[in-house]
Amino acid sequence: MTTLLNQPPVRSSSPETGSVTGPEITGALTALELEVTRSLQAAFAAPVPLLSGLDLVLKSRQGNFVFLRKGVPVTPPVLMTEPETLPMDQVSRCAFVVSSTPFEVLARCQNDPALLSLAQLLVKNAAGLIESRKHEEVLMEEIAADWESLSALCEINSEIFASSTITDGTYRLITRIASLRLGFHGALFLRRDNLLECVVSTGRQSPPVPVDALGLLQPMWDQRRTIVLNKLEPEIADDSPENPVDDNPVDEKDVCWKHARCLAAVPMLSKDDTRGFVVVWSELEKHSVDTSFQHLIDALSNRVSMLLECDALTNAARHTELLEQELQIASIIQTTLLGGDVPADFAGVDFAALSIPSRTIDGDFYDFYKQGDDTIDLLIGDVMGKGVAAALLGTAVKNEFTKSVLSHAGISNGERTKPEVVVQQVARNLNVRLIEVERFVTLLYARLRMPSRILEFVDCGHTETVVHRKKCGNSFVLRGDNVPLGVAVRDIPAQHAIEFRPGDTILFYSDGVTENVNPSGELFGVARLIECVEQWSSCGPQILLDQLRRDSTRYCEKSAFADDFTAVAVRIRLDQKAPRHHLEAEFPRSLEYLSEVREWLEKAAALVGKEGLSDEGLFRLQIICTEAFDNCVIHGGSLPHTRPVRLEAQVFEDSIKITLEHDGPEFDPFHAAPPSFDGSRDNGFGLYIMVRSADDFAYRRKPEGLNVLTFSILQRNEEAFFHATNHYSC
């Protein structure tokens, strides 16, 4: 409405007589002024009786005054030129800003300052409301502008997925880009070697363009960025300065955008290459590429980029996906078929197994075959190769062993079939087939014979078996001399045998354990494995394997191993039936009593068979007990009413077992930080020394709040003094 814009403002001598109608006023005010007026009106339309005596005057930009009278429910604003004529004696001035435009409102009433300050407040509120509504409108506009692009993008996204081929998909995209503005064309160029070929064009067709002869578009290509060119002269667009005009109409300068008056070109960037570009142009002089259109082209071109990238990745992934599926199957086989049930009730021996399949699945397998109450067989093996084939082969080998074990079950002439015979049958059945498929299997088949404490083993090219012998305080490895299955038909696997002792720990493992590498590429190796066995074997096979896993993870600094990680640990329990002597003592929890504790231990140790525990054994006993006593004083000693430390000694023929009981906070001896051996810390050795020096070590927490440590020392009957670690093969 601009009807009254050029007319002189209505003059009036008083507000009552100077009333004019709404439309006329709107014409005399700017849209913003009108809006402010209406807001003020709305604010003062609130049914507050107090406000009835109030008049407001808003000064318009054209010098008009809008008079708002309160007191009537719907008061039309009154336009005036002379506010001074208003018969009010009290005036309050209120200034505010809406949409960067300053406003001033005069509130008038008759002799009521309170009413004036109330009016001020209302005006300010109204102004604030207008301002926030304005801001909202701007936001809405922006959203509305984006909405178009968003819906276009959305539609295109679904179109892409509906398209069956990459050509179809890019064609739809380019068509869509071009149709965003009437009269625009779009084209997609893809790189092949040093030529850019026009794959899709909604305008004229284009010949291939060399990557270094893009003319106008060269900066886009060279700098890998979007360019926008407006106000082009057609002859400039067809720029070919170094080339004379050719008679051939389809020469390499006859590009599709040659007649463009404005254009935008977006490079299709992949990780380290430019795959091609999208160009959008119009040949109409009136057209230009504005910022919002450029953004839209950018966004859609990005979609084309993604589409191309996806296509490349899909092609690469198709292959990987098959592999991935295979790995999943292999992993299932590994976890369900390749492992065995760890025997829990075999007298005098504890077993534990750990099998962590790697991403690649190597077909590690293990199993246990219980042969009556006193004999148990154990199989561990590793198929060379990876994936489903290796996993299936692993199960096939296991099957053959089950068959062979079953067919040789039972005792004939007081003897069981020897382990080598079991393996020989498997070898006969599998060798030829394995050679056919060009696979081989390393394995170890072992038998533990309990009453006689004999370990028989058939080693077919498997990793060395680690034995740690507490009775001697040393470790050695077992190695056989048979070749893996699937290598030679003529090789007849043969067995070896060793005696084992109470306190022995035997560790069978796959090469994934020792061939774990740290970030600098060094192997974990057998020496570290032996170190781990020597440190933790006193705590039993399960804790040993838990710690082996921790050590290995810490070593390779990864949570996932590169190869299958399989280990079976066996520990022969100490012979501790019917103690010869039983002693008990209590010591106040104070460090002063340490020497008394050691004296008491010395007395108890003297009762061990063959005239007492050796000096070496006594020293280990004393150091473990001293460390344990230190710990309970240091960590639990400050508590009030702490009970004395209770010690109990059970003395056996060739060992002594100490139980140390004390109250205090619960602790976890198996998850303490490893000690630092570089001399940088004074403490942290206590638990390490205890666990390592003991031949058997256990911790438990009693429900009544007691920590119970038990540890045993074996009488060593061989001259393997202290912590000697002589490694030899058997």
Binding site: I623, V633, D682, F685
Partner: protein, 118 residues
């Protein structure tokens, strides 16, 4: 804790005159050795009487070693009994400390360094 401190040339020889060094007296060792830990000091701990050391005893010796090394001094050990040596080996401290079999050998090693630096 009973210590015997003698001076042989520039070397302070400290003999530990107890049979056990454990949590009950290791702080005492630190306190008694502390006055000898001065810049450039050469200290030899003679452990011949010691039959038993626990981790806190080891810790107190490590503490002295680090302090001396921080002051350009030296700490060497000698005359270690077999069980004491076994504990040093168990926590690999035999690689951190310079350990001599006899006091004479240890004293000569200090001299050798002196001559070498001349």
């Amino acid at each position: 804790m009973q210590l015997t401190i003698t001076h042989v040339n520039e070397v302070t020889v400290i003999s530990i005159d107890v049979s056990a060094l454990d949590a009950s007296n290791s702080k005492d060792l630190k306190a008694k050795v502390a006055p000898e830990i001065v810049p450039g000091a050469k200290i030899l701990l003679n452990l011949s009487k010691l039959k038993f050391v626990d981790s806190s005893g080891l810790g107190s010796m490590l503490h002295c070693l680090r302090q001396l090394e921080g002051m350009n001094g030296q700490l060497k050990l000698c005359c270690m009994a077999k069980p004491v040596r076994s504990i040093f080996e168990l926590v690999r401290m035999h690689k951190i400390f310079e350990i001599h079999i006899t006091e004479e050998e240890a004293l000569r090693s200090f001299e050798a360094v002196l001559e070498g630096s001349k």
